[in-house]
């Protein structure tokens, strides 16, 4: 094998794993990092985004617009749930876990009853390209680009906009933010909506590559939780390096030993990380900076 095709193959594997980790964890990380809420309905927001994307795409909407529809629908559903349920559980972390788990079960069963055990999806666009003897899906490369764009976009949102500065102030000292005139409930509502929307975006982006079943959210859950746990509470410092490290581990093990070992390696990595750095990568990196 020549050098370029071989290294492209490694990059492709890494990019594929990295994109999946980043895109699937972003919504969970925003909600956990900004609000301290462990959202067990994360997978169902993903499913919501995927279903809306697939059905609007089949109805004739171009895929990017369909993905936008999926994202916005999930964000809207998220904001409604925040206002009706989650808002009342901010100081009760265990109860919020139970509540979001309940939402997750209800959503899965409701979709099963209303839409049946499976829904026809939309095909993967963009076709494939040949490098060396192998062919690669161009859509997977687009997903890698989306993941990088997503990280950049979140950075800009939280570090370069007024909303982002106020949201970060609100996580650090909620009472002080309130005393300065910040409507913290609105900030939390918008943040939860953003997290749900990002989950919807994950569903939308991966909808063309997956089978539409009501339990499809579960496919994302392990990866997203693993990334958030390894990354730690500060999503900007933690999530991107966590996704990069985990992607290397997963891609390498998958390439050499197969899918199963890739998954096992991911879980072993989490156990090692929380044993060595209880606060996750972000706490470790921040201590290093001081």
């Amino acid at each position: 094998m020549e050098f370029f095709p071989a290294s492209f193959s490694i990059f492709y594997q890494f990019g594929n794993a990295f994109a999946f980790l980043v895109i699937s964890c972003a919504g969970l990380a925003v909600i956990f990092g900004m609000m301290g809420i462990i959202n067990l309905a994360h997978g169902e927001f993903i499913m919501c985004g995927a279903y809306v994307t697939a059905s609007t795409a089949r109805a004739g909407l171009p895929l990017p617009l369909a993905i936008l529809c999926g994202t916005l629908t999930a964000a809207l559903v998220g904001m409604v749930l925040e206002r009706t349920i989650i808002r009342h559980l901010y100081h009760r972390p265990l109860d919020s876990i139970i509540a979001t788990w309940g939402i997750s079960l209800i959503a899965t069963q409701a979709v099963l009853i209303l839409l049946g055990p499976t829904m026809s999806g939309t095909g993967t666009p963009l076709g494939s390209m040949e490098v060396g003897e192998r062919s690669y899906s161009i859509y997977r490369l687009a997903l890698f680009a989306s993941a990088v764009g997503l990280l950049g976009g979140l950075y800009l949102l939280f570090y370069r906009t007024r909303f982002g500065v106020i949201a970060r102030a609100t996580i650090q000292r909620p009472e002080m933010a309130r005393a300065l005139g910040v409507d913290t409930r609105r900030v939390y509502g918008l943040t939860f909506g953003l997290g749900a929307g990002l989950a919807g975006l994950a569903g939308g982006l991966y909808a063309p590559t997956m089978t539409m079943v009501p339990t499809m959210g579960a496919t994302f859950i392990v990866e997203s939780f693993v990334t958030v746990v390894v990354g730690g509470a500060d999503i900007f410092v933690g999530a991107a390096p966590a996704a990069a490290i985990l992607a290397v581990i997963k891609a390498a093990l998958t390439a050499w030993y197969g899918q199963l070992f890739g998954q096992i390696g991911l879980l072993v990595a989490v156990i090692v990380v929380i044993r060595v750095m209880p606060g996750g990568l972000s706490a470790f990196i921040k201590r290093w900076q001081r």
């Binding site: 500065v165 650090q172 009472e175 309130r178 005393a179 300065l180």
Partner: protein, 254 residues
């Protein structure tokens, strides 16, 4: 000062103790943390442009009073009127928009945010009312311009205190609630802070309600004072008494 247009009508209803210049009037205020009642009926008032000190020993409820005035703690009885409007039931963020600038004990800057970003959050209180005046802030606190992109958590105690005051002032409040500004700050810097607050008061007309234990700071800043004990105001100090170190010391050490 911004007074609501119907103030004359309100004055008629509430009688003579409300004057045109009364900015804050507190009557029979009770409250505390959880089930524990700390404030046992506080009465005080603050005129526009005044600097008034609330003095008393540790644990008499001074900080609880400040937090209840901001709305971070809810009151169980009594009224808080701000420029004539009853704000007793309003949430903290609404009260901030009405012109309460809070500078808490321990300063509470946002440690991970830069100095500039801390001030951006302070702008919220003035939104729709005034435009933020960064020239004024930088004239009073030149160090904040110099350190604009430094994280607030890495500033010294005195610099954090300046930032906390600037963060409240950028929203152009009509009054500052200043809680123990001298706490944990070097004596040499305490004088600077006292001078800064007096100058801000003189140039912008912002009223100051000061909670403090540091004798020098009280004597150098306040124009009159209240003595607090066991959740009540038990005495008031006139302009002559508040500048007498002996009189103030007597109340601080009761």
């Amino acid at each position: 000062m911004r007074l609501p247009p119907i103030l004359g009508f309100r004055k008629f209803i509430w009688g003579p103790q409300m004057t045109d210049t009364t900015l804050l009037s507190v009557e029979g205020l009770c409250g505390g943390y959880g089930g524990e009642q700390v404030l046992q009926g506080v009465d005080l008032s603050l005129d526009a442009g005044e600097i008034v000190a609330v003095i008393g020993r540790n644990g008499v409820g001074k900080s609880t009073l400040m937090r209840t005035l901001t709305g971070l703690l809810s009151s169980s009885a009594g009224t808080i009127r701000l420029a004539g409007a009853d704000v007793s039931r309003e949430p903290a963020n609404k009260r901030a928009l009405r012109g309460i600038g809070y500078i808490p004990q321990g300063r509470e800057v946002f440690p991970e945010l830069t100095v500039r970003e801390n001030l951006m959050v302070g702008e919220v209180a003035g939104q729709g009312r005034t435009a933020p005046d960064y020239d004024m802030i930088h004239r009073f606190f030149p160090i904040l311009k110099e350190r604009a992109h430094q994280r607030a958590g890495t500033l010294s105690g005195g610099q954090q205190q300046q930032l906390a005051i600037a963060r409240a002032m950028i929203g152009q409040p009509s009054m500052m609630l200043l809680d123990e500004p001298s706490e944990g700050i070097q004596p040499s810097i305490i004088n600077d802070i006292s001078r800064n607050v007096r100058e801000l008061n003189a140039s912008t007309g912002v009223a100051v309600l000061l909670v403090e234990q540091n004798l020098d700071l009280i004597v150098s800043m306040a124009q009159r004072g209240y003595v607090m004990e066991k959740g009540r105001i038990v005495a008031s100090l006139g302009p002559d008494e508040i500048i007498s170190r002996d009189a103030v010391r007597r109340y601080l050490t009761i």
